[in-house]
């Protein structure tokens, strides 16, 4: 938006500000009939929930979304709790438990609420927001495939791996370790790798993500947290997703160097 002539040139600036049109797209529904419903789908994929790895093993794939959803381990495909819930909400995936009983949306919401599968509600909201817009979103540190890596085994899937690593680091009981552990509580991790919408996307060669995303619902990040995250991102841009009252906002904190002017 080009705004001209709002500032006096005499040096004494005027107070006039140009107010952007208030684009309040808040959904305000009066009756239940106003709330949109997603279309019922005939072709539904099926998966079975594996509580141990905290993921759904995809049993039957229908629809094109599987090119950008789920990770491949061995001959199997797994999708994370956020992918599972996203597809279940849209009626694209039906999830079964070990005993072949169907897992309801309520069960899935409960799982996310407990956050035991590596994704809390706020992270899910960020995930859903980006996925709905066509972005390709992957849990950070969870490679799409294990091709090219030596340790190709079905059990070595993402989150449990990460958990193990953290626990190992936290071992030992001396004071320094305790201090480190306390600091680690404050440590943030990128939650997602985000790729721009791309119809040619391939899990076997995803390329570098467009940016890495850190989700926060509490305090804004401190300087040291940002720097720590930037080290983890290895030169890939970093953004923060903040969720409040179900609304997601994204922020960039970019290091710059002001030019020395003539």
């Amino acid at each position: 938006m080009e705004v001209e002539g709002w500032e006096n040139s005499s040096g004494g600036t005027s107070d006039s500000e140009v107010y952007a049109q208030d684009t309040n797209d808040e959904e305000n529904y009066l009756t239940s009939g106003d709330i949109p419903k997603l279309q019922f789908r005939k072709n539904i994929s099926r998966g079975s929930w594996d509580d141990e790895v905290g993921m759904t093993e995809v049993v039957e794939k229908k629809g094109g979304m599987w090119t950008t959803t789920g990770i491949v381990r061995g001959n199997k495909m797994y999708c994370s709790i956020e992918e599972t819930l996203f597809l279940a909400e849209r009626g694209e995936l039906s999830v079964l438990d070990v005993d072949d009983s169907s897992i309801s949306l309520e069960d899935l919401y409960t799982k996310v609420a407990k956050a035991t599968s590596g994704c809390c509600w706020e992270s899910f909201e960020v995930y859903r927001h980006l996925r709905s817009l066509g972005y390709i979103v992957q849990r950070h540190g969870n490679p799409w495939t294990m091709k090219g890596t030596k340790n190709e085994s079905a059990s070595a899937v993402g989150i449990p791996q990460i958990k193990v690593i953290t626990e190992q680091n936290c071992g030992g009981s001396c004071l320094i370790n305790e201090l480190l552990n306390n600091m680690r509580i404050e440590e943030l991790r990128p939650a997602f790798d985000v790729f721009l919408p791309n119809s040619k996307f391939r899990k076997s060669s995803p390329g570098n993500p467009s940016f890495m995303l850190c989700v926060t619902s509490g305090h804004p990040p401190s300087k040291s947290q940002i720097e720590d995250l930037e080290r983890q991102c290895n030169g890939i841009p970093l953004k923060f997703g903040h969720v409040e009252h179900g609304r997601v906002s994204f922020f960039s904190f970019n290091k710059v160097e002001l030019p020395i002017l003539p």
């Binding site: 040139s9 040096g11 960039s252 904190f253």
Partner: protein, 244 residues
Amino acid sequence: MGPRWKGKGSEAKALADPMSKIVSQLKSTLIQSDSHGLLSGCSILLEVETEEQTELLNRACFGRPIVTAQKDKQWFQLGMEEAFYLYYNLKCLKIVGEGKCTKTEDELWNYMKSKRETFPDFLKAYTHLRTRNWVVRSGSQYGVDFIAYRHHPALVHSEYAVLVLSEGQGNANGRLRVWSDFQCTLRLCGSVAKTLLVLRIDRNSVGEDSPSCLESYSVEERTITRWSPEQSREDKTIASSQLL
């Protein structure tokens, strides 16, 4: 968001008349006239004898003229950072207190710190921008600490809304504590087409005993922007190269 020049020819005008040159002219004329500023509250009042000096102060954007009925002389009012920069960095201004006695460096430093706890950090930020030849003015109209211009405000719109944060000082400035502070500040910056620039001043445990401490402070520059996923679905670099 790049620089927004005001009308045709402004950019060329700025290029032909670099700010560094204007400031160094101001410096020599102030030295020549042995200028003294009068300390008054949080301001420094400066009586200017020549039209040339008035013009240079205006062109370099130091202080603001005070409108008086006095015909032959012009008064200017300088802020603490502006005055201290002219006094300490450019060494072209002396500052006097009551009874016309010249303030020593220590007296001035302690006085300004007592007026504002964050003065050392604000001064560091001001100096940081001025030594890079950016024009720095008060940001109070936009609810920020400073605004920074690429050249004189008559030629270009200000590019940055600047907030100064004190690293490791318990955020003494009190800005950007919670997310709604970010949303609020960015909403305003967006509506006046400025980029939010946060200067984090790290004192590196040096303290604030004297103005020379500032040399050991470090400044981290970060722009903070909102990202809209609705408007960023296409890779702009790819899209624009396909157009060619």
